[in-house]
């Protein structure tokens, strides 16, 4: 990797510069919360944000997306293009950068999802360091650091950013749009100091030992019934999760009933009809079985294929879940056998 130092007060230059070539999207305030939205004025960029309500996935895999248009008469696809403007996601935290790498495993692979791919390949990622909040537990999965998956990563070292540059494109853009200098030993020292302070700031300490095994061994544990009783089956957890990718597909006709579109929307395994098939059979009829599946899949199903858990510890689900169900509590319950 290759490093530069950018003074904080020069950062707006970079944002403005990027705006001449890309749509720049970054964290902005929405009431008391933050959302990832297009940045029109660098001043609206809030790099001090805690977390965004929706994760970056919405910029690659939108909540609702037309995947093709068709004609009914001859069952013909008339259009399956996707428009993917050149874009920069500016200011992603390490957990979110990591989440995209986990998403890539799903949407690429043997069958490449062209819609995701078009956006992913046209989007640059600028990461930024963060301060853990009380809902964060990325440290449990090692997703508090990121070593790839970004073009530029900005680590706060006081008055400046310690910029790690990962891609040629990232290097070019820094060169072109912002004043920067080489790192010094002092910068590296500050960087290490900040990293140590960051690591020490986590309030959650999750014991993840033997998690997949425990999930299997405790498949019939009463903790799931207990969580099932609380779960509202609302699916909020999956919507806000940067690593939940399940979707539904349905067709919609235009008013003339002759043309239509095939639409995909975010779905959640917490919804009752998620695993229902014809003739009234439902493989996960109870809330308990659905809550269990969410964790089983995230901490074991995905792991069995990609050697990572499907969680980056961003804590969004913990914020969204009104029933107070979240990975920290669930893992704790699995370890102890009781729901506190």
């Amino acid at each position: 990797m290759f490093f530069r130092v950018i003074a904080k007060d020069r950062l707006p230059d970079l944002v403005r510069g990027l705006s001449t070539e890309f749509e720049v999207v970054g964290p902005v305030a929405k009431g008391e919360k933050f959302v990832l939205a297009p940045i029109e004025d660098p001043a609206s960029l809030r790099l001090d944000y805690d977390t965004t309500v929706l994760p970056p996935k919405k910029w690659f895999f939108p909540p609702e997306e037309t995947i093709m248009r068709f004609r009914v008469a001859d069952n013909e696809v008339v259009d399956d293009e996707v428009y993917a403007p050149p874009r920069v996601l500016f200011g992603l935290h390490p957990c979110d950068v990591n989440s995209l790498l986990l998403m890539d495993n799903v949407f690429f692979g043997k069958y490449v999802d062209p819609y995701y791919r078009a956006r992913r390949e046209n989007t640059l990622i600028v990461g930024v360091s963060c301060t853990p909040s009380d809902t964060c537990f990325c440290n449990a999965w090692g997703t508090d650091e990121t070593h790839w998956g970004f073009d530029i990563f900005l680590s706060d070292i006081g008055d400046s950013y310690f910029a790690s540059i990962r891609s040629v494109k990232g290097a070019e853009l820094v060169d072109r749009h912002v004043e920067s200098r080489d790192i010094t030993d002092e910068d590296t020292r500050l960087f290490q100091e900040r990293t140590a302070a960051f690591k020490a700031a986590f309030s959650n300490d999750v014991d993840t030992s033997q998690l997949p095994l425990l999930l299997d061994a405790k498949f019939d544990s009463p903790i799931w019934e207990a969580f099932g009783e609380k779960c509202l089956a609302c699916g909020a957890c999956s919507m806000v999760c940067p690593t939940c990718y399940c979707f539904d597909v349905h067709d919609e006709l235009e008013a003339d009933q002759q043309h239509g579109r095939r639409v995909r929307t975010w779905d959640s395994c917490q919804f009752k009809e998620f695993a229902a098939v014809a003739h009234g059979q439902n493989f996960r009829d109870t809330r308990a079985s659905r809550v269990k599946y969410r964790y089983y899949h995230k901490q074991w199903g995905y792991l069995s294929k990609f050697e990572r858990v499907l969680c980056v510890g961003c804590g969004r689900c913990a914020r969204a879940c009104k029933a107070n169900i979240n990975p920290v509590r669930v893992v704790e319950a699995l370890q102890t056998g009781v729901v506190d």
Partner: protein, 292 residues
């Protein structure tokens, strides 16, 4: 400098060859046969000749069948891979998509994607006896396997087919079974739960038929497909016959929205039925929570 994905191809930074795996190929219905009041057998032919030639599958795999305006449904291929240029789908009218398909006429066009999933280990089964057990509509994927074995009959040992249906008029492919029943290279046994006056065969659940067969446990592959409740009992019978857990194959039906391991609906334990299955060997299935 915008990259726009065009048609089935992605241009710009994305390699040309990338096809859109969600885009169905148009296929013409070339024949429709009424099997029972609820099931019809459709013969389909992909209109695009390249797609038709590239379409290569194994018994147990499925396609996503698309009726635009209604949606998609995963359907097992019923014909044998050895049958070139056409595929057969045996479809029960179970809801919107399958209902819309049932309303189609010969010559109409539908959409097809696939083949998807992992089928039966045909090559591995060669040289062995095969015991196939089907319940109801579960005969659909097994028929592909049976037909395939039929075409390579000399490569296999004893082939036994046990098939249970609810009622006599729900027995699928009767015309073919009537034919096979008179052949000595297939042992075919049919049973129904609710016989009527015309029924002269066995009565009861498909598991009853196990009393009537001999199995060489060292040398037999099992293949099972049927309603979810059936698996446990049939496997118990196979285990009673001392068949190895990793030579028994089961095919699972789960809800699916993509068929390619992305939509997440078909999870069975830690696997996905669409890409890791729908055919699993029983050892794998035993290790899948909520599978059976």
């Amino acid at each position: 400098m915008d990259t726009i994905m065009r048609g089935t191809h992605v241009s710009g930074a994305v390699p040309e060859s990338t096809v859109n795996p969600y885009r169905p190929w148009p296929a013409r219905i070339t024949s429709i046969m009424d099997l029972t009041p609820q099931e019809k057998l459709f013969e389909l032919r992909l209109i695009d000749s390249d797609a038709r030639e590239a379409f290569d599958f194994s018994a147990g795999q499925f396609v996503e069948l698309s009726v635009f305006g209604v949606g998609e449904a995963p359907i097992s291929i019923s014909s044998a891979p050895s049958k070139q240029g056409f595929i057969e789908l045996c479809v029960r009218n179970a809801g919107d998509v399958t209902g819309a398909l049932h309303r189609k006429q010969c010559g109409d066009i539908v959409g097809l994607r696939g083949p998807f999933g992992r089928g039966f280990p045909f090559e591995e089964m060669k040289g062995h006896d095969v015991l196939l057990v089907a319940g109801g509509l579960g005969i659909a994927p097994l028929k592909s396997l049976i037909n395939h074995i039929h075409d390579d009959r000399h490569d296999f040992g004893k082939v036994t087919i046990l098939y249970g249906a609810k009622k006599p008029d729900e027995v699928l492919f009767r015309y073919q079974f009537d034919m096979w029943q008179h052949r000595d290279d297939f042992d075919l046994m049919l049973t129904v739960d609710q016989p009527d006056d015309t029924w002269e065969g066995e009565v009861g659940l498909v598991t009853r038929l196990f009393d009537k067969i001999d199995v060489d446990p060292e040398n037999t592959y099992g293949a099972i497909c049927g309603p979810p409740v059936m698996y446990k009992y049939v496997i118990a019978e196979m285990r009673k016959k001392a068949m190895d857990v990793d030579r028994i194959y089961v095919s699972f039906e789960r809800r699916m929205k993509c068929g390619i391991g992305k939509c997440g609906h078909c999870g069975v334990g830690h696997q996905y039925a669409c890409v890791d299955g729908p055919v699993f060997n029983y050892w794998e299935a035993m290790n899948l929570q909520e599978a059976i």
